[in-house]
């Protein structure tokens, strides 16, 4: 079926829904690389106009990627909430945009509709929204998750401490971790990207992070972001796994390029939940998965089925939400300028991703970041950080001075998180905030309330570091 719109007397025709979806996106170098982008600004707006008239029913019944060829398409249909969909199925996308932004659609309403909305619908409505719309709509929805603490409550802003080291040096990892803890960071997770993908290395890092958490009795989680099979192998050898990490994408073939499929994710999740039961200790919930995503990943694996990168990103969230995750973040600026050319495109993508994730029910965070070959800088990164904090993003990354010395890109810093908590009056996760208070550590930059306690924490840390030497 073809779609068309007439703009100031000029008629634009789009061959099918896939083409319409691509042309209706804001400018992205990745869509241009794939040959899917609008060829001029008039065509872009004409596509948005035509898209605004498409109903949610039509999108549901015209899958962009054939379910016979792709298990993600099948998952999306299998998890669709047909009952709740009755409330919105008749709406056109234009009406759906108005519905979401209207005061009548309160948080409870939007929560009720999470699984009535497919990823393709979330992507389509994002194409009709301005950056400010994306912020306003997302700010209505808090998606809360629980593991050893509670993430995502209104009034909180979490942070992953990301203490990466170019050669996985344990002492170096600990130092970056402690720097973060003393800035009040680390409630989302203490999560290391290892430089080497070996079970020994991953196991050693898992052990030392767990020791920090248990010795200092920190209400948080640890994670080593290696391939899912490496983490599970380490777990088999007796290493403690709090959160099971995996990068995911929006098509079966793109996931295959990461070396994963849906059955593996389901099995891994079950095994980690069982492992938590056996380990004992206090677990507040069964949210045990940590997923990372990013626009452009399917195209870079040549697994995009001629679908635009925004829609495929939404489909990655369709994968993530089937496994009830604790954390999900888009690594928005990591992929490089051939997919998101500059600070403007990265900003747009970050706001889109966060909105779509929240609309689909995910505890959405964002790695606000850029590489040195993208036309972006710390100023554009600062801007997106502030915008996403205003939008109610669950968590960001925290790295010493935003410089990831292992992955060679810039994200957000411990300082940045302190600044956002101060600017917006936000606290860490409640359990973690209590721990910080008990140890005299400030999270908003105000003077430490109890320097004596802070010092005794430092003494404990020195013991830990001695043990690592």
């Amino acid at each position: 079926m073809s779609y068309h719109a007439t703009l100031r007397g000029e008629r634009f025709v789009f061959g099918d829904l896939k083409e319409l979806f691509g042309r209706a996106n804001e400018e992205k170098s990745g869509d241009q690389l794939a040959g899917l982008a609008a060829r001029n600004e008039r065509e872009r707006v004409a596509a948005k106009m035509a898209l605004a008239d498409v109903t949610l029913e039509e999108i549901l019944h015209d899958p962009l990627i054939d379910p016979d060829d792709d298990e993600v398409s099948r998952l999306i249909l299998d998890t669709h909430d047909a009952e709740a969909f009755k409330e919105i199925g008749h709406l056109s996308l234009g009406e759906f945009r108005d519905f979401i932004l209207d005061e009548a659609a309160d948080e409870a309403t939007l929560h009720r509709l999470h699984f009535a909305i497919t990823p393709e619908m979330a992507a389509a409505v994002a194409k009709l929204m301005s950056n400010k719309d994306l912020i306003l709509a997302a700010s209505k929805i808090r998606n809360v998750s629980r593991c050893r603490n509670t993430m995502g409550l209104r009034g909180t802003l979490g942070v992953r401490v990301q203490p990466n080291h170019p050669s996985d040096d344990i002492e170096g990892i600990l130092l970056s971790t402690l720097d973060g803890l003393l800035f009040g960071c680390g409630d989302a997770v203490i999560g290391v990207n290892p430089a080497t993908e070996s079970v020994d290395t991953v196991g050693a890092i898992l052990h030392v992070l767990q020791r920090v958490i248990s010795d200092l009795q920190i209400p948080t989680q640890s994670c080593v972001l290696s391939h899912i099979s490496t983490q599970l192998a380490a777990m088999e050898r007796g290493c403690p796994v709090d959160l099971l990490f995996q990068s995911v994408a929006g098509t079966q073939r793109a996931n295959a390029s990461f070396g994963v499929n849906l059955a593996q994710l389901a099995e891994g999740r079950e095994r980690v939940i069982e492992h938590h039961r056996q380990r004992g200790g206090e677990w507040l919930g069964d949210n045990v998965m940590y997923f990372e995503t990013g626009q452009g990943s399917a195209l870079s694996a040549d697994a995009h089925h001629d679908v635009d990168q925004l829609t495929l990103e939404a489909r990655a969230y369709g994968v993530a939400r089937a496994f009830d995750p604790f954390l999900v973040n888009t690594v928005v600026g990591f992929i490089g300028p051939e997919y998101l050319y500059d600070g403007r495109q990265i900003t747009r993508a970050g706001l889109e991703d966060h909105f779509m994730g929240k609309l689909l029910g995910l505890p959405m965070g964002c790695d606000v970041c850029y590489t040195n070959h993208a036309n972006a800088d710390q100023n554009s990164n600062d801007n997106l950080l502030v915008l996403l904090t205003a939008a109610g993003c669950n968590y960001f990354m925290g790295i010493p001075c935003a410089d990831d010395v292992m992955l060679n890109f810039q994200t957000t810093s411990y300082h940045d998180i302190m600044g956002m908590r101060k600017l917006f009056g936000l606290s860490p996760a409640p359990e973690f905030a209590r721990w910080l208070e008990e140890h005299g550590i400030s999270w908003n930059g105000e003077r430490s309330s109890n320097p004596g306690r802070r010092e005794s924490l430092l003494r404990q840390l020195s013991g830990l570091l001695e043990g690592a030497r």
Binding site: S29, Q32, P163, N164, H165, P166, D169, I170, E171, G172, L175, S176, D179, L182, G203, A204, H207, V208, Q210, R211, S214, P240, R279, P337, E338, Y341, N372, H373, D377, Q378, P400, C401, A402, D403, V405, N408, F409, Q410, S413, H415, M418, G419, R421, K422, S442, G445, S448, P451, G452, R454, E455, S456, L458, R459, L461, S462, L465, G467, A468, R469
Partner: protein, 275 residues
């Protein structure tokens, strides 16, 4: 500062007079990571020193990405003459096109193909190619040191080395075109890495055995992080030739070929006694 812990810690070091006391023993450990830990703060922001250091490192990285390398301008002319260096282009015509179209950087322009065909030698064991990649600065800094070392090591092993040349706007996939046209046993590509803030001068060496159209990273081997604070050029040259020799003996390259490195003992045993 509290008085409750006399003498147990070294004298504390107050970074900003705001109660963020970092003891000296902790600061002494900073060398264990290149990460910018314990830098203090100005309110919830960086101190001016940190802020400007970050800007300076980013500026070096950005300039390295956007710099061009030119043989006559950027290399010592005695060096360029000694190796009879010349330069060709990929299909990417500008830096912007190069950044936006990875496919164009992976193949040689028609002019480049002509030039290589006209210079083709009958039998070459090792063909060295230099590519600007994402850091022209890395090429300008590392290649004049590394190239002679690789040449000498190759000669010492009795290898016939082809004429080296530079590809501008080059990506790693250019290996395939070079392999198709010149048909050497091994193609070695010395290419500038995407700069980080720690260094903008890091070079990678990619090797492939008889690369042909359609080959991917799975058929290539890589020695990365070649710079003065990473893998030193002398070590890189030895490792490159060891890999090349192994590839020629086994007539393949890629995931099945592993570098034989002396095992690096863990300086600190991992902690294995946690719950």
């Amino acid at each position: 500062m509290s008085e409750e812990s006399p003498g147990e810690l070294p004298k504390p070091f107050d970074l900003n007079s705001k109660g963020d006391i970092i003891p000296e023993w902790l600061l002494r450990l900073k060398d264990s990571t290149p990460a910018r830990v314990f830098v203090g703060r100005a309110g919830p922001a960086y101190r001016t020193t940190s802020h400007l250091e970050l800007r300076a490192d980013h500026a070096a990285a950005r300039d390295a990405v956007h710099a061009d390398v030119d043989i006559t301008r950027d290399f010592d002319q005695a060096f360029a003459r000694q190796y009879d260096l010349f330069q060709v282009h990929s299909r990417a015509r500008t830096k912007q096109e190069y950044l936006l179209r990875p496919d164009l950087g992976r193949s040689l322009s028609e002019e480049a193909k002509e030039e290589l065909r006209s210079r083709r030698e009958p039998r070459t064991d090792l063909q060295i190619v230099i590519g600007d990649g994402l850091s022209a600065t890395a090429v300008i800094r590392q290649v004049p040191v590394l190239l002679p070392l690789v040449f000498n090591e190759a000669k010492a092993r009795g290898l016939r080395v082809g004429f080296p040349f530079l590809v501008r706007h080059c990506r790693v996939g250019v290996l395939n075109d070079v392999g198709e046209i010149l048909q050497p046993d091994i193609v070695l590509l010395l290419i500038g890495e995407r700069p980080g803030l720690v260094t903008a001068e890091s070079l990678s060496a990619y090797l492939a055995y008889q690369p042909r159209t359609g080959h991917t990273d799975a058929q290539r081997n890589l020695i990365s992080n070649i710079h003065s604070r990473g893998v030193l050029p002398e070590d890189a040259a030895r490792r490159i030739l060891a890999l090349a020799t192994q590839m020629r003996e086994r007539k393949l390259s890629g995931v099945e070929v592993k570098e034989e490195l002396p095992s690096i003992p863990l300086s600190k045993p991992p902690l294995l006694d946690s719950p």
